[in-house]
């Protein structure tokens, strides 16, 4: 993985020193809160409902064991012993004290991490396919490009005060696992005449005005990519609205001006700035690529098909069924570690669990870990002969839930349990749904299902692209939950449709139960997933399941 250059080290060290001085000046009264707030936000420090929250970037979701150990140390020393992995492949610490934050940032810098541009109207942490570099179905590892974008966008002098935040996602696979169509810019690797490049998608986003991104260019060659991105972001910087926060994202700019006009402006700007790059970006990319060479895999002669071992426990078999994905090498597997044990908080890992994950990665995973936008941890390179030991080690750390892609593998934002913006809680709803379906023993019968919960209209929980989405709102002084159906975050991305009036906190779990018991009756056979059945039948029969009273009344 990428190792910091001398420049990176010096830049991060300088920022830590600056923030240490800024915190000292805030504490001694030299800076007012008004003056200090933008400074702390530039360093990922928010003030939430109960405490400060520090959002740490995990660039394109990639970590090594040393970094994971350090996150565990931070969680234990300066927080309450755990961290929360987010839908943008970041980690959030929910309880740091202001005066400790400079030391936390130093501890992060010691392992080549930071919290810069995890807030503010800047280019945020670049996310990528969590199977990058390992997936059987990818053209190439998209992370060198993601790292190039990270370097280009970090402290970019023109892009520190954009009209609004700006999120970029990259995938190297046609099976989109990075939700590229729901980002300000989504990049999909593609090939044209034997040359590698990217389809550039622009103007996607969730939030209060969900939109699926549109293709701005079907192919931008690799050496044109950085000037092209700069042309897009600078066009947005000039054109994007600053009069209304809710209309400031590039999705609205694209909607208001039309994709054709955006395209013309971007192309004019691109022609102007391209000569300035003069191939420097390609040289930099070449250097970065050296950091992403594949690990030294074990030779194929050492392969043992763990899957065919005779003494498998049913628990191990169930885990193999759900938590293993195809690796580009036949002797290897991609392991998804679920942070969604029914009843647990989605995305949370304790310091002990982080250490266990670090050790497993070091011993069995070529020292690599990934954080997925679905709030799970990935071991991208595990030899199949080691799967039994990996499973045992995960079980000891209480991390062996066999539910990846099933109903209890729920994305949930922190909601009103932590977040100052939330309008309702998300975590208890996720906990109750997961434990209810575990008790019903229907999870495997229901099969592939993406259920996503947001605690407010900003949609950090991606509810719009959940097969079932739940949005927590306030209605008449109590929590109320709206259901959307038929959303999809994959290659054929789609925004879900609101099913009808909201449900009270005590009605939402029974409503989901009615919906899914009904789906089991409606589906053609076991092979028809919830989303497929919804697409075949449309909203009406599912709406009838959710609102049986309305049917009776009619």
């Amino acid at each position: 993985m990428y190792q910091y250059s001398r420049f990176d080290h010096e830049f991060i060290a300088e920022r830590v020193a600056q923030f240490r001085a800024q915190v000292a000046r805030r504490l001694d009264g030299s800076l007012t809160e008004e003056e200090f707030k933008p400074l702390r936000l530039m360093n990922g420090l928010y003030l939430q409902l109960h405490a400060y929250m520090l959002r740490v970037a995990i660039p394109y979701g990639t970590l090594n064991s040393r970094q994971m150990h350090q996150l565990a140390m931070i969680a234990e020393r300066w927080d309450k012993g755990y961290g929360h992995f987010t839908t943008r492949q970041n980690i959030q610490f929910n309880w740091p004290k202001l005066e400790d934050v400079p030391d936390i940032l130093q501890a992060l810098a010691d392992v080549e991490m930071h919290a810069i541009q995890t807030s503010g109207n800047t280019v945020r942490n670049v996310t990528a396919d969590h199977f990058a570099g390992a997936a059987a179905d990818e053209l190439a590892d998209p992370r060198p490009i993601a790292e190039l974008i990270r370097q280009w966008s970090t402290d970019h002098p023109e892009f520190q005060f954009l009209p609004r935040k700006f999120k970029i996602a990259v995938t190297g696979s046609p099976n989109d696992r990075a939700v590229t169509r729901a980002h300000d810019i989504g990049l999909r690797m593609t090939e044209q005449d034997g040359q590698r490049g990217f389809e550039v998608i622009v103007g996607g986003g969730l939030g209060r005005t969900p939109m699926i991104g549109k293709t701005l260019s079907p192919f931008v060659a690799l050496d044109d990519l950085l000037p092209y991105l700069e042309a897009v972001v600078s066009t947005y910087n000039l054109l994007g609205r600053r009069d209304n926060k809710y209309k400031a994202r590039i999705k609205i700019t694209t909607h208001e001006h039309g994709i054709e006009q955006i395209k013309q402006r971007v192309e004019a700007q691109f022609a102007k700035i391209k000569p300035r790059f003069a191939g420097a970006n390609l040289q930099l990319l070449k250097d970065i690529e050296q950091h992403f060479v594949l690990p030294k895999f074990k030779s194929s002669s050492a392969q043992v098909e763990a899957d065919s071992a005779p003494a498998q426990s049913p628990a191990f078999r169930a885990w193999l069924d759900t938590n293993i994905s195809a690796h580009k090498l036949p002797g290897y597997a991609i392991v998804s570690v679920s942070l969604k044990k029914p009843g647990a908080t989605p995305g949370d890992a304790s310091a002990d669990q982080m250490r266990a994950l670090a050790e497993i990665a070091r011993n069995f995973g070529h020292d690599e870990l990934r954080i997925s936008h679905e709030q799970n941890v990935i071991l991208p390179h595990v030899h199949r002969a080691d799967l039994t030991q990996v499973f045992q080690a995960l079980r000891q750390a209480d991390l062996a839930a066999a539910n990846i892609g099933l109903i209890s593998d729920i994305i949930a934002c922190p909601g009103m349990d932590y977040c100052a913006l939330a309008t309702a809680r998300s975590i208890p709803v996720a906990q109750q749904i997961a434990t209810r379906f575990q008790a019903l023993k229907l999870e495997h019968d229901i099969g592939p299902l993406k259920l996503k919960i947001s605690g407010c209209i900003n949609a950090c929980g991606h509810h719009h692209v959940g097969h079932i989405g739940i949005l927590g709102l306030e209605k008449a002084g109590v929590e109320s939950y709206q259901i959307t159906l038929g959303g999809d975050g994959g290659a054929e991305a789609e925004i879900g449709t609101r099913a009808g009036p909201g449900f009270g906190a005590d009605e939402i779990v029974p409503a989901i139960e009615r919906l899914l018991l009904g789906y089991l009756q409606l589906r053609l056979d076991r092979n028809e997933s919830f989303l497929e059945a919804y697409r075949r039948l449309g909203l009406a029969p599912f709406k009838a399941l959710l609102y049986p009273q309305a049917r009776k009344a009619a």
Partner: protein, 98 residues
């Protein structure tokens, strides 16, 4: 003296820890809502808020919050304020530890 329709408390977050605090007359802060001073008078509410906003090196983001005044102390009338006064529901990491 004008009487406010709804009882209020002054709340804010501690500058150093971020913890939720409540104003307790004459001029201290408590982490427990039940020990907060209940304000039923508009002028006193304004003066108390101004006092809180005048302590920028102690607290951040002071505002008036509606409460129901009960025998054993004030109770938050809105669920958001109830969560602020207790802590998150998934762990006993907030004021449940008190």
């Amino acid at each position: 003296m004008s009487v406010a329709a709804i009882s209020k408390v002054v709340t804010a977050n501690d500058l150093r820890s971020g913890e939720v605090l409540y104003l307790r007359f004459p001029h201290s802060w408590t982490p427990e809502l039940a020990k907060a001073s209940v304000i039923k008078d508009d002028d006193l509410a304004k003066a108390s808020l101004a006092f809180a906003q005048g302590q920028p090196n102690t607290v951040v983001g002071a505002y008036l919050s509606d409460v129901i005044d009960e025998r054993d102390g004030p109770r938050a009338s809105h669920f958001r304020e109830r969560f602020r006064s207790t802590g998150p529901s998934n762990y006993r990491h907030g004021k449940q530890e008190l």
